[in-house]
Amino acid sequence: MKLLTHNFLQCHIKGVKNGYPLNIEAVKIEERDADFDPDFLRSMFKRIDWKAFLVGAQALGCAEGLPEAVSEEQLQDDGFLQKFHHALLEVCLEEGSLICPETGRRFPVVKGIPNMLLNEDEV
């Protein structure tokens, strides 16, 4: 699971109001190369919750060099884009858990696949 995906995931248990962002408990992390596409990165930046991204990056150990806030110039700066690219698309959570901030419910991540299946009583 990449941080791009994590940024969009939320807890969908019935009645939960603050199910985003999910907290990450990382057990195994892997790095995989991805194609660098600045246009794609800028397009993704527009829809990313930056704060949630930073917290996720911290959990996966790739937050170094990422600023608290991003300016327009930085979006054109190759240096920033490379760091953003790496954290967003190349660092993968293989094993661990995603935890709902409201209920504490754990969604396991196995082989890089988050298990978001709900139990009968959560629907």
Binding site: M1, F8, Q10
Partner: protein, 298 residues
């Protein structure tokens, strides 16, 4: 899969698509070709602006990633959702570009508001119409799915869901559920006159839209068949609500006759010689009149 057995009648999808089935499905060249074709058509109907910008798409019921790979080929990023662990394991094994989630679309897609540029689904959403478990209520599940899908799409985005409705009631059920949550759009039926090629696409727009996609094969033309598709074996089932069954078979393999040669003089002479060779005695003698062109209306 049996010839006329719908997978939905056999078992719930997470059980039907077990390791064996997942592997069979993914190594079946015919299945790959069909999925590829359907994904291309879905992308066509999605009508993303052709400006070369890679978009973020949701692939619902992504399975082993056959459709996802076509999305990657088209230059898009995607996130997949599927209920079968076995199918997703195959996707990961095949190193598909998109991340995949294990989840049940009938429980709602666990994604936040307005993040996707579009969504596709190939041969999956009709599973919602069946109560796979006693606690399932199809209408409730359809609602949960469409509501959450609507929410996670960006403004102006579209969803194209290729489905195999078992009958007209199911098709209506899916359309109604989608409209109820605010989608506009409807069902596009390609090749409506062909049993073999008929395909259903639920084309949905977030909010009102003037988008009016054109179905294929409305003039009665059949779909051009590719090598890998062979005779229709009812993949996932076709709508059986039809008057006359017109079976269309492709050219049988090994057939060397072209249409023009079929009843030509040389063919007739050859055939007669063949029959004599077999021992039939009553074959008329060949004369200058044999297989002569007759006047029209003979």
């Amino acid at each position: 899969m049996g010839k006329s057995e719908r997978p939905e009648h056999t078992a719930p999808p997470d059980i039907f698509y077990n390791e064996d089935e997942a592997r069979k499905y993914t190594s079946n060249t015919r299945m790959i070709a069909i999925q590829e074709k359907l994904t291309q058509r879905a992308l066509e109907l999605l009508a993303l602006p052709p400006d070369g910008t890679p978009r973020l798409l949701l692939d619902i019921g992504c399975g082993s990633g056959l459709s996802g790979e076509a999305l990657t080929e088209a230059g898009h990023a995607w996130l997949g959702l599927d209920i079968s662990e076995a199918m997703l394991d195959v996707a990961v094994e095949r190193e598909v570009e998109g991340d995949v989630l294990l989840g049940d679309m009938g429980q709602g897609v666990p994604l936040r508001q307005g993040v996707f540029d579009g969504a596709i689904s190939i041969s999956a959403v009709q599973w919602l119409c069946n109560a796979d478990r006693s606690s399932h209520e199809p209408r409730k599940r359809l609602k949960a799915f469409f509501e959450s899908l609507y929410r996670c799409l960006a403004r102006g985005a579209r969803a194209v869901l290729q489905v195999y409705p078992e009958n007209a009631t199911q098709a209506e059920m899916m359309v109604a559920a989608a409209m109820k949550v605010g989608f506009s759009g409807g069902l596009v039926v390609d090749y409506p006159h062909s049993t073999r090629a008929k395909k259903f696409f639920l084309v949905l727009m977030v909010g009102p839209s003037s988008y009016a996609p054109q179905a294929k094969g409305l003039d009665g033309a059949d779909e051009p068949m590719s090598e890998d598709e062979d005779v229709d074996m009812g993949e996932g089932g076709q709508v059986r609500n039809e008057g006359r069954q017109r079976k269309r078979h492709g050219k049988p393999k090994g057939s060397s006759k072209s249409g023009a040669q079929l009843k030509s003089k040389s063919w007739v002479l050859k055939k007669k010689a063949q029959m004599r060779g077999k021992g039939y005695t009553a074959i008329p003698v060949d004369t200058k009149y044999t297989a002569r062109k007759r006047k029209k209306g003979f």
